[in-house]
């Protein structure tokens, strides 16, 4: 019978190498996390475009608030609370302040920081629930998701809301591990802030509360669990009550944008289902494997199930409401909760947990994450190309506008208003969502008749159409422009989005035409909703 002899070939092949990675070093996991965050930063910087309509709206609003609060500017008259999907004086104020310092990139940088925090929280949560290997896999897998990369470069409420919700989750986990109420209070405050940042944060409260309650119950019993739950709910409920009392207009905002929302972009349910699978499917599958992996235990399985189910909250809500708007952003919320399971599955599946030497088994994890990266980056680029690059349009408009003189009608005027704020006052802009007009015989009009009368009387100096979300009104305006002689088409500016090519049509009042109507007192209000 032959004996097995291990010939020390490998040891001889690299005898001079004495440097070794020290797995015992406490810094190593944090180095892995830092590398993940640097990677996420680099990837997100890959996304380049001019400001999205919502970004322009929030940042502009934030600048107005900033000006009022800190520079003694005029009070903000625009009723943003009526249609903003988050507290207007919270995120927009921060974004506006950063915009003053560094422009839209400053506000986007804040979103990046927020999303880096979310990734770090995914790491921490997974490490606490599973192990370090799973945490590393979870963090890097989450960081390369298209939705995550997109939010990392989007100056809207979402990144901040998600960051606060993620911090709340970490605090809830910590709170469940100790008797004191310190982390419980912190969790409550973080979650309240998340809801204030964006009302949709409410959707993910049950998950965090379930984590807190179940983990506390497992460790300290039902009384502790109940106390902590009550504390958190009291903080959140109390905070919301105070905020709504201070500004009752917010009720309408919450109702219209979140609790009783009407779909802005009505979309077929099957289509929404397919989109959800396309954008989150890989993570869903891996998380499902994570859910089913490992030994079954009543202690841990319900918690894993909660995490897994949370992935589906946003898609199900959108499918139920038939709302195609913002699904790609909201996917990232659920993925945060799916990441721990996916990380666990990936670490286990690829042998990452059992084989500690570099070898082919790690190639499985690398390949899966590379695949996720390829999908994620491609999707993020697609998301970021959903709106037109407005550079050419803004450049043309700069040849036409002047401060305090002239009125401009534009589709998605928020972007133009934002980029031309150095030369055009906000009141000079009108848009296609809502418009009041008093014609020269004193007739008060709104909607399409108002636009028609204003065009007939040469009220607008410029009209910019692109047949986007307000295509019906744009068509009505266009018919009037073609039917009359008051305006001349001065430019057709092509643009490209992921949906295809389009044109900005820029009309200017003919040089021989003067405004013939009555002076208008009120201008339009913005109507963009989230």
């Amino acid at each position: 019978m032959a004996q097995r002899v291990l010939y020390p070939q490998q040891a001889q092949s690299s005898p001079t190498i004495s440097l070794r990675l020290r797995t015992s070093t406490r810094a190593v996991p944090w180095i892995a996390l830092v590398l993940t965050l640097v990677f996420q930063t680099l990837l997100s910087m890959n996304l380049q475009n001019t400001a999205f309509q919502d970004e322009a709206l929030y940042v502009y609003a934030g600048r107005e608030y900033f000006d009022e609060y800190f520079f003694g500017g005029e009070p903000v008259v625009e009723p943003y609370a009526l249609y903003f999907s988050g507290l207007p004086t919270f995120y927009p104020l921060i974004a506006g302040g950063l915009d003053i310092v560094a422009g839209i990139e400053g506000a986007r940088f804040f979103s990046l920081i927020c999303m880096l925090i979310v990734t770090a929280c995914a790491f921490v949560v997974t490490r606490r629930l599973f192990d370090l290997n799973s945490a590393i896999c979870a963090a890097v897998l989450y960081a390369v998701q298209g939705s995550v990369l997109f939010l990392s470069r989007l100056a809207t409420y979402d990144a901040m809301c998600l960051a606060l919700a993620a911090i709340g989750t970490v605090c809830a986990l910590r709170a469940s591990e100790q008797r004191g109420l310190g982390f419980t209070i912190l969790a409550g405050l973080a979650l309240l802030s998340a809801v204030a940042a964006k009302y949709a944060g409410l959707m993910f409260l049950p998950t965090v509360l379930a984590i807190l309650a179940w983990r506390t119950f497992q460790t300290f019993g039902i009384v502790q669990a109940a106390i902590k739950l009550i504390v958190v709910v009291a903080i959140i409920g109390g905070g919301i009550a105070i905020i709504l009392t201070l500004d009752p207009q917010l009720w309408i905002g919450v109702s219209q944008t979140t609790t009783n929302r009407q779909a802005l972009l009505q979309t077929d349910r099957l289509d929404l289902t397919l989109r959800s699978v396309q954008w989150a499917g890989l993570m869903m599958v891996i998380a499902a494997i994570g859910l089913l992996s490992g030994r079954f235990s009543w202690k841990t399985f319900p918690l894993k199930l909660v995490f897994f189910a949370t992935i589906f909250i946003a898609p199900i809500y959108h499918i139920y409401k038939m709302e195609g708007f913002s699904l790609h952003k909201h996917i990232a919320y659920g993925l945060f909760f799916g990441a721990p399971l996916a990380g666990y599955a990936l670490a286990r599946w690829s042998g990452y947990m059992t084989v500690r030497n570099v070898g082919k088994k790690w190639t499985v994890a690398l390949t899966v994450i590379l695949l996720a990266f390829g999908l994620g980056l491609t999707q993020a680029r697609g998301f970021y190309a959903e709106w037109a690059d407005s550079d050419d349009l803004i450049r043309l408009l700069r040849t036409q506008v002047r401060p305090g003189a002239g009125r401009y009608l534009a589709e998605e005027s928020e972007v133009m208003r934002y980029y031309l704020q150095d030369v055009v006052y906000g009141w000079q802009w009108n848009q296609l969502y809502w418009f009041y007009y008093t014609d020269k015989v004193g007739q008060q009009l709104q909607g399409v008749p108002a636009y028609h009368a204003a065009i007939d009387e040469g009220y607008f100096d410029l009209i910019i159409l692109r047949y986007g979300p307000a295509v019906t009104t744009a068509q009505a305006v266009d018919d009037r422009l073609h039917g009359g002689t008051n305006y001349e088409l001065i430019a057709e500016i092509p643009y490209y989005t992921m949906f295809g090519e389009g044109i900005y049509w820029v009309w200017r009042r003919a040089e021989n035409i003067e405004f013939s109507g009555r002076p208008q007192i009120a201008s339009a209000t913005d109507g963009s909703q989230q």
Partner: protein
């Protein structure tokens, strides 16, 4: 040596079952996933991001590994290389120039070959577990025959080899007294016609070792060995050690190489072939090239049981040789051919330790001859054994062995690859026919740079402290000889086995690098052509960089030959060694340090020459009225700018102190022209228009300027003017009060109120850029009635009045206009621009009147003649009509006027 004995576990624990499951899963899933990822990457065109992603994800995943940094780095960069190579070749495939197929297809094929070998290298280097060997027999009981084949190496060399073998035998027998070691000198001198062949027998007798002198030729080295083996009955259960005549064994050679034969499946144990004569440049560089193979590739091959026999410093089981009828004698690389036949049944092991040392080639001729022999041998094996390597089910080699043999067999095709690499850029720059079409610099950088950078980093990580750039350079230098070897193999020519010379030959190395010199000259010619034709084209830029790299490589090969020759000239040896050393061509580490220093110095010099001078304080310039200094200036249309200044100076008798021109915003401030003016003691006056060719006129409108459309261009102008440092007169918004102006306040969406906004906006940008050396010239069409348009007075340094007199029109009396002008701007320095076309008498009369009028303008700053037709696009004959030199009378009148106003001081 440490040999650990392990026993199989009695029960399989749960983690082990998981591990087995994982291994099974991964063996199925890894290839599938890798294939999927490859296809995805191919079509996704993620370019540089794939490399970045691989780098980060790999680092993140392996950071907790219990592996050495080198293993981790090899793993990470190996992954990046493979993925970026797939990405690059996918991109590259789409860009083959099929129109110029004669260069497009060969270059792509060469690149594909290179990429496959780069991937193959990474595959070989990939960290793997070593083979697990079993212990079946006591290897130390096997008889050992140390065979030392010799032809004509000489007694001195052979004596050292025999002594080395004796010491190794002694050390071995001390540890294993039961062992039997026979040292055999296989003397082929007689059949090779070597005059001193008897000396070999004498030295063998003297040192008390066995010798066999062959009397029948055939089979070269293999025949010699096989003859001795059969004669001494070194067959069956025995071991045969082969040392080339110059390979001196280290004392522990046998001690370390025999133990693996405890596993009865082991057919041979190979060790490295290292050179000891590193004081010779050629052998040192060749040693580095050898090290790439022995120190980097062989351990990887060994882990895959794919290490082949290298002909020397090897221990073979004779039973294995018996199976294939002895060493094949129809190949000059009999060792390699034997391995292919043996590997299906026998295992091989490589030991990296330095267990023997030999003499490397001492001049380029010997080196090239050695390379040619190896190339012809392995390519010959490819020709005869390709079926065993490439056809499934043939030969019995496993997949890893097939890959390794395929890589080894095709390695020397790299000569053809390098030849194509050398020819392609030269062909492109000379003929203009590209091998690649449809790319741009960005795309190239995105796809090629990650691949190139990753493969370089991966290589140097793996080669760290093992080999280096010298090995690469001398490998590249072999390409002409490898090409000739390929031709020889393809044409079926045979060469006999020739021993690599162990002495330095008398021939000059320069003879060996004649092809390199020819390609160097061609490269330099191509470079000159490239630099002179259109170096702004991205393909030309890339090719120029490529050809510079190529010149460096060819230069290094030639430099090696020159330095080695220089070192051998006895009367100047010390001096030449000093020179060679100072140029980094000595064989030691100084080579690279010297090269690095020289490169660094070249970069520093380049930067000093190329980089613009660091900003120095800009002179503030504010024109002042001084009646004693009134300047004469000339403004030219663009096509007369370079030709007329000296003519005018000679004819008028006064050198112009201001030279004007009109430019568009997309142009650049012409610093060279301005510097020429400075040398002539003249100052530039630029009229800047915001019109742009093929751009809508809206972009020249006043709102466009005021609202920042041209800010970047203005900043560029401001910076270059600030860099110029000397005074510049600058007119913007000329004739803004008229509808013919490109930036008009009465049309093109402009209104009078826009003028001040635009004017101050431009000035603010210049101020921000520190261009204090600009004097702002306000130039309305009607400066007498410009209240509606004029910017604030304190923002105007000079005001211009144009007195352009067209033929067939009524010419107002200059004195009236100038009086009104002077009244409108009593305290502002005035520019008066004049030009006229018409009859000689009329012009003379006008200039005489003007002469009188300007003498009475106290705030006159400069009188400027517009030396050309104001009509845009005017031809030379029209310009002549408006010239100061259009006729003698006009010239005289102008001369007098200019002399008068400039002589006032």
């Amino acid at each position: 040596m440490n040999i650990g004995i392990t026993s199989a576990p009695h029960t399989e624990t749960r983690p082990r079952r998981i591990q087995r499951w994982n291994i099974t899963m991964s063996s199925l899933i890894v290839p599938l996933l890798a294939m999927g990822a490859g296809i995805w990457l191919w079509q996704a065109e993620l370019g540089v991001w794939v490399a970045i992603a691989t780098l980060f994800i790999s680092l993140i995943l392996v950071i907790r590994a219990k592996s050495s940094w080198r293993e981790v780095a090899v793993w990470v960069f190996g992954m990046i290389v493979i993925i970026s190579a797939v990405d690059y070749m996918g991109w590259r495939f789409r860009l083959i120039n099929l129109q110029g197929w004669w260069i497009g297809i060969p270059l792509f094929a060469a690149e594909l070959f290179g990429a496959l070998h780069v991937i193959g290298l990474q595959y070989t280097l990939y960290p793997r577990k070593p083979q697990t060997l079993e212990q079946h027999v006591d290897p130390f009981a096997l008889p050992i025959y140390i065979m030392i084949p010799t032809v004509n190496e000489g007694i001195d060399i052979l004596r050292k080899t025999i002594n080395g073998a004796l010491i190794a035998r002694e050390r071995y027998l001390k540890q294993h007294p039961e062992g039997q070691v026979t040292i055999v000198i296989c003397n082929d001198g007689l059949v090779a016609g070597y005059a001193e062949w008897r000396d070999v027998e004498e030295i063998a007798e003297l040192l008390n070792v066995t010798y066999v002198t062959r009397t029948t030729k055939g089979g070269a080295k293999a025949g010699n060995l096989e003859n001795a083996r059969q004669l001494l009955n070194a067959t069956g259960n025995a071991l045969m050690v082969i040392f080339d005549a110059d390979q001196v064994a280290h004392p522990d050679f046998l001690v370390k190489t025999i133990s693996p034969f405890a596993d009865s499946r082991i057919g041979w144990v190979q060790t490295g072939q290292y050179y000891g004569n590193l004081d010779n440049s050629i052998s040192h560089w060749a040693h580095d090239q050898q090290a790439l193979f022995y120190k980097m590739l062989c351990p990887g091959k060994s882990n895959m049981n794919a290490m082949f026999i290298c002909g020397t410093n090897v221990v073979l089981r004779t039973a294995a040789l018996d199976e294939i009828g002895g060493l094949p004698q129809d190949s000059v690389t009999e060792d390699f051919a034997a391995s292919i036949l043996l590997h299906p049944r026998w295992r091989s092991v490589f030991i990296e330790d330095k267990l023997a040392e030999g003499i490397g080639p001492m001049d380029l001729r010997s080196y090239f001859k050695q390379q040619r022999r190896w190339a012809m041998g392995t390519l010959g094996v490819l020709r005869t054994h390709w079926k065993e390597i490439f056809l499934p089910g043939r030969g019995g080699l496993n997949i890893n062995q097939r890959i390794q043999y395929a890589l080894a067999c095709t390695h020397y095709l790299s000569g053809l690859r390098d030849l194509i690499y050398v020819i392609a850029p030269i062909a492109f720059l000379i003929t203009g026919i590209p091998a690649v079409i449809g790319s741009n610099l960005d795309s190239f950088m995105t796809h090629f740079i990650p691949y190139f950078a990753a493969s370089q980093v991966a290589f140097f990580v793996a080669a760290w402290r093992r080999s280096g750039i010298r090995g690469i350079v001398i490998g590249f230098a072999s390409f002409p000889i490898l090409v000739s070897a390929i031709i020889a193999v393809v044409s079926g020519r045979k060469i006999g086995f020739q021993v690599t010379s162990k002495q330095k030959l008398k021939d000059s190395n320069l003879q060996q690098v004649r092809p390199h010199l020819a390609f160097l000259l061609l490269s330099i010619v191509a470079l000159v052509i490239g630099l002179s034709v259109n170096y702004q084209s991205s393909s030309v830029i890339v090719t120029i960089i490529w050809i510079v790299y190529q010149i460096g490589m060819l230069g290094a090969a030639i430099g090696l030959a020159v330095a080695d020759d220089a070192r051998q000239l006895a009367p100047f040896r010390i001096l030449n060694q000093t020179i060679a050393a100072s140029f980094g061509l000595m064989t030691q580490r100084r080579t690279l340090v010297g090269a690095a220093l020289m490169t660094g110095a070249a970069i520093v010099v380049g930067l000093v020459l190329v980089l613009p001078t660091i900003n120095t304080p800009v002179q503030a310039f504010s024109p002042l009225i001084n009646n004693s200094v009134v300047r004469f200036g000339v403004k030219f249309p663009h096509d007369l700018l370079d030709t007329q200044v000296t003519v005018l100076r000679d004819e008028i008798g006064t050198a112009p102190q201001i030279i004007g021109r009109t430019q568009e915003i997309d142009d650049n401030f012409d610093s060279l022209w301005a510097a020429e003016l400075t040398a002539m003691r003249a100052r530039p006056w630029v009229t800047l228009l915001f019109s742009q060719p093929s751009v809508d006129i809206y972009y020249a409108s006043l709102p466009a300027i005021a609202n920042g459309v041209h800010d970047q261009a203005l900043q560029r102008w401001a910076r270059t003017i600030a860099d110029y440092q000397y005074p510049v007169y600058l007119t913007v918004l000329p004739h803004v009060d008229r509808n013919w102006s490109t930036s008009s306040a009465v049309t093109n969406n402009g209104i009078p109120a826009d003028v001040t906004r635009a004017w101050l906006h431009i000035q603010r940008i210049f101020a921000d850029e520190g261009a204090g050396n600009v004097a702002w010239v306000w130039s309305p069409a009607d400066p007498i009635n410009d209240e509606l348009y004029a910017p604030p007075t304190d923002s105007i340094d000079l005001v211009l009045m144009s007195l352009i007199r067209y033929p067939d029109t009524e010419w107002a009396a200059p004195v009236d206009e100038l009086t009104a002008f002077q009244s409108a701007y009593p305290n502002t320095p005035l520019f008066i621009e004049v030009s006229a076309a018409g009859s000689s008498e009329r012009k003379t009369a006008y200039f005489t009147l003007l002469h009188d009028a300007v003498m009475n303008v106290p705030n006159l700053y400069a009188l400027i003649y517009y030396e050309g037709s104001p009509r845009p696009g005017a031809v030379l004959s029209e310009h002549q009509e408006w010239s100061m030199l259009s006729d003698p009378l006009t010239t005289n009148a102008i001369r007098l006027m200019i002399q008068d106003i400039t002589d006032t001081e």
